[in-house]
Symmetry: C2
């Protein structure tokens, strides 16, 4: 405690604000709430507080500001970059009790969500209203809207629906001084100066605590159709993307390598989709708007085949078949989790994916010939998940260290492509020291200056991001 | 000149940077470049400079910073809020020579535009590539991309395609110190900290000078169909919006009153669209994806008719008919320009449009019974253009003064609906003093603090916005 208050007085005051049972001090709770899915850092929070409203959050933050206690906001803690871990005696402010869905408006197609609303809860709510919340990813069953916004979460349908940012029409934020700001009020058009909403989105809790958001919903898509294409040459993936998107609206354009497919087939005991193996696979999902759409897709397939862009292909004839084809892509992460893999979530512009992937492959092969590389990702968005598998013979610690040493070289390649060192997982602690590979010195200086003016005492999620 | 340089030395140095013929000092040029379409302020710039590249802009801004000369960035000057006027001996920095379209990438569907590229030039370029730039508005033939971004321009297809913000994947900005920042590099996914791009978008030249942008393009829509609906009750406009958008993807959902229609009919010598007059009209545009879409639209029409939501309706059978129906909406501005009208570009959430419009109408009728009010707008986005016509018997100056006196009352009503005092025209000089009706004290304080950290000497478009 840097202020005048003793720890026990501080705890008492917290209990007055949120109620006794919502202030947690047991070691088990500290470890649970101080950690995220990255599991890379030692949790060591001071205390855990679970407020029930924006007003309670504001009161807690004010008390922390008075006593110079740092605050780590905590959502579903599904992050993979250590953005929500508390390693340094911070107060963990869990938003999970602010989980109400309210103020649904059918004309505006908006709904107010507490920061603690689970992504899937919002998706289900939308479905009940015959509407659709399109941001979706593997952790939708656990991740929370507040965290999604704080990291501007993406996922598998960005190509069609954009990122979380694109669905936020209003934002309630508690600032470092405990002030409550209500931004944009659900408006579609509002040209009244700096859009602070967009500044808080993706700021990983370092500028303010998101407590509530007005989210947009949309018309549900019609049944999906899925095509799986086998491709030998990386360069043809770009050709396929360009041609298909000129013919049909794509929902997803996913990619994986034969090595990735092999892992899934083994892990899930599946039959290979094609008789012969290819180097790469592209999975295309599109909305089956009408028979004409399917015809267009089949014609695009034929065109691609005639041009020698692909070796083989499959198209789903039912929802079940569509799901079966998705398995080859969705099963990858799980199938390699036991190695464990070194993971890197990176992006370039879609047209540069082939060249970039080859450059990294060449680098890994020549410097780390013992490493197996598994590639997959949302490459319609230029987003690749690079996974390097630990060789069985190598000790985990040595593997981690070797990978950490490779990081700057991989990021250097990425920087030469003007790429992003974090496509959709944020910066957190994991990539903070590499930020300069994706952001210029003057950008980082400006980010620091914004941080300084919003949080001069550096109490909001300190040490994360910058 | 506040620095050590004399005016003639300063001018000489500018000439060295941009070339002699691109430094303008003639009174006629000063008046032209110092003014925008608002025509409300007396132009009085120091000098006009027309650089040809980002590097030249940076050099000019650096020289201005050294000499404490304020800079007003200047695009197509089609603004209606005095955001680009120079009234106080500023240097006007015209971006019009930075008008190259380059680096088109068919896979990424992106293209680099100089700030001086005319909106229509980008639209035409997209069409030549079998693609589409969807942001469109009345001034597309004159407005420039840099200005569109600086004001986050909207227009008639926001409902379907969003605002200018949604199409910017990269931004080159010159800061107040003359540094060049290249933001986001065209990436779709980039979770590496504060998205400074979104901070500059809509900042009206007060935080940095936009010199170049990477713009996204999309698939062109199929032929448009247009429906014109006659509606008696304002409340039914919401019902129509909700029902139609649940059935078909809307491109535009426009609105005008009978009074507005009367002006167009008279001005363009057109026949009334329906035999009987109604209170209000709704114009719906949608993409004719297939016959099924038209069927859905017709069924929605029948459903609306059965529910008594509308009095009558028309649907276009050809492109030409679609354009003819649009005339009733697009001709309004021109038909009332000679009064002249007091204009106000405001927004609420779409569901509140009816209630808000009624509240303003009631206020105007009771306080200013001599005023005629003309309503129209993009109400699918909640965006209304309020126009009050000058009574023939009232002198222009008195009319202007009376309207200025009414402003705070109208904005007070707007604030009670959590609305925006500027939907898509920006703040500029015109609405600066009313900002507090749409933004809270703490928001304005934060905006000032951001301005202070990016432009501590207040040299970038000073006096505008905040």
């Amino acid at each position: 405690m840097k202020g005048d208050l003793s720890m026990s007085d501080f705890t008492e005051q917290l209990k007055v604000i949120v109620g006794e049972q919502y202030v947690l001090t047991e070691q088990e709770d500290l470890l649970t709430y101080g950690q995220d899915w990255s599991k890379l850092y030692q949790a060591d929070p001071l205390i855990v507080v679970r407020p029930a409203s924006t007003e309670e959050v504001a009161a807690v933050v004010k008390l922390c500001a008075q006593n110079s206690i740092a605050v780590v906001p905590s959502g579903g803690r599904t992050g993979l970059s250590g953005g929500a871990v508390a390693t340094n005696k911070e107060l963990v402010l869990s938003l999970e009790r602010i989980n109400q869905i309210s103020h649904f408006n059918a004309v505006d197609r908006t709904v107010t969500c507490g920061a603690g609303v689970i992504t899937e809860q919002l998706q289900n709510f939308a479905t009940e209203q015959n509407l659709y919340y399109p941001v979706d990813f593997a952790s939708s069953g656990s991740s929370q809207i507040g965290g999604n916004i704080a990291t501007n979460a993406g996922g598998i349908k960005v190509l069609r629906y954009g990122l979380t940012r694109d669905w936020v029409t209003g934002l309630t934020v508690v600032t470092a001084t405990g002030e409550i700001m209500r931004l944009n009020h659900g408006l579609i058009k509002n040209a009244t100066g700096y859009d602070l909403r967009h500044l808080f989105i993706g700021s990983e809790g370092t500028l303010g605590i998101i407590t509530e958001a007005i989210m947009r919903l949309t018309t549900p898509p019609k049944e999906p159709s899925v095509m799986l294409l086998a491709v030998s040459e990386l360069a043809n993936v770009s050709n396929i993307l360009e041609y298909f998107q000129s013919k049909i609206d794509l929902m997803a354009f996913e990619f994986f390598s034969q090595a990735a497919l092999d892992k899934v087939l083994e892990h899930r005991q599946l039959k290979a989709p094609f008789e012969a193996a290819s180097e790469y696979y592209v999975l295309i999902e599109f909305e089956t708007v009408s028979e004409a759409t399917t015809d267009e897709a089949l014609m695009a397939f034929e065109y691609a085949a005639e041009n020698g862009w692909l070796d083989d292909g499959l198209i789903s004839q039912s929802n079940q078949q569509a799901e079966e084809l998705w398995q080859y892509r969705e099963g990858i992460s799980e199938s390699i989790s036991h190695y464990p893999p070194y993971k890197n979530d990176i992006a370039v512009t879609p047209s540069k994916v082939g060249e970039f992937l080859t450059a990294v492959d060449d680098f890994v092969k020549s410097h780390y010939p013992e490493f197996e590389t598994i590639w997959f990702g949302h490459i319609g968005d230029g987003n690749l998940h690079l996974n390097i598998l630990k060789p069985a013979a190598m000790a985990l610690e040595q593997f981690k260290q070797t990978c950490a040493e490779a990081n700057p070289d991989i990021f250097k390649i990425l920087a030469s492509f003007n790429g992003s060192i974090s496509a959709e997982h944020g910066v957190g602690l994991l990539k903070r020291d590499y930020l300069n590979f994706s952001r210029s010195e003057s950008e980082i200086r400006l980010m620091r200056s914004i941080k300084q003016s919003l949080d001069p005492k550096n109490l909001l999620n300190p040490g994360k991001l910058i």
